[in-house]
């Protein structure tokens, strides 16, 4: 069976520290070797994204800013 790990974080204002990225790569390499990891990736802040709202008979593009950063 496959599982999806969702990492939540407040919208990142500054790039993550180097130590964090190093640790993530190390973990990724371990998980890949053991055959556990299928895919992984990081997402740009929502400011570079978009939301589309589907209401009965109407589809609208919702523009930011989106305040709920922990989600």
């Amino acid at each position: 069976m496959r599982f999806m790990m969702l990492v939540k974080h407040g919208e990142i204002q500054a790039p993550p520290p180097k130590e964090f990225l190093d640790a993530m790569t190390k973990l990724g390499e371990e998980a890949e070797k053991s055959g556990t990891m299928v895919a992984s990736g990081g997402l740009f802040p929502i400011a570079k994204g978009a939301r589309v709202r589907f209401s009965p008979g109407k589809v609208t593009l919702v523009t930011g800013p989106f305040p709920e950063s922990k989600k």
């Binding site: 990225l21 190093d22 790569t25 890949e32 895919a39 990736g41 929502i46 939301r51 709202r53 589907f54």
Partner: protein, 145 residues
Amino acid sequence: MRVMVIVKADKDSEAGLQPTKKTKDCFEAMGKFNEELVKAGVMLEGEGLHPSSKGKRVKFSGQQRTVIDGPFAETKELVAGFWLWQVKSIEEAVEWLKRAPFDGTEVEIRQVYEMQDVPADIVSPEHAARERALREELNKKAAKS
């Protein structure tokens, strides 16, 4: 660029797959939409997730790890499914998403970081090479399976 399209949970998705006409119709409409996406070369991946009752959360606080069992109450914050799309722009992704057979929900599009999006002062060339190698291995495995 790649984008992740995140579909939020609702009462129905949290109830799991029910053998109703609504579920069947939904699967059929989604199947058709997916075929269009694949034909256009847009869809890379797309999956649905089991209800949060089958999930867990791990809380990180200092060295402590706390495991919390699902289900989780805030249905609208939960993810029910996702796509990974290859598009030329966020606008193209919006146009595709508008055609999706949804009703009464809000769907989020997020751009995926590629290695070239990460500045060299954050990830050294050596580190970036390791990440690329890692991704190549994953892609090879995916091609085999």
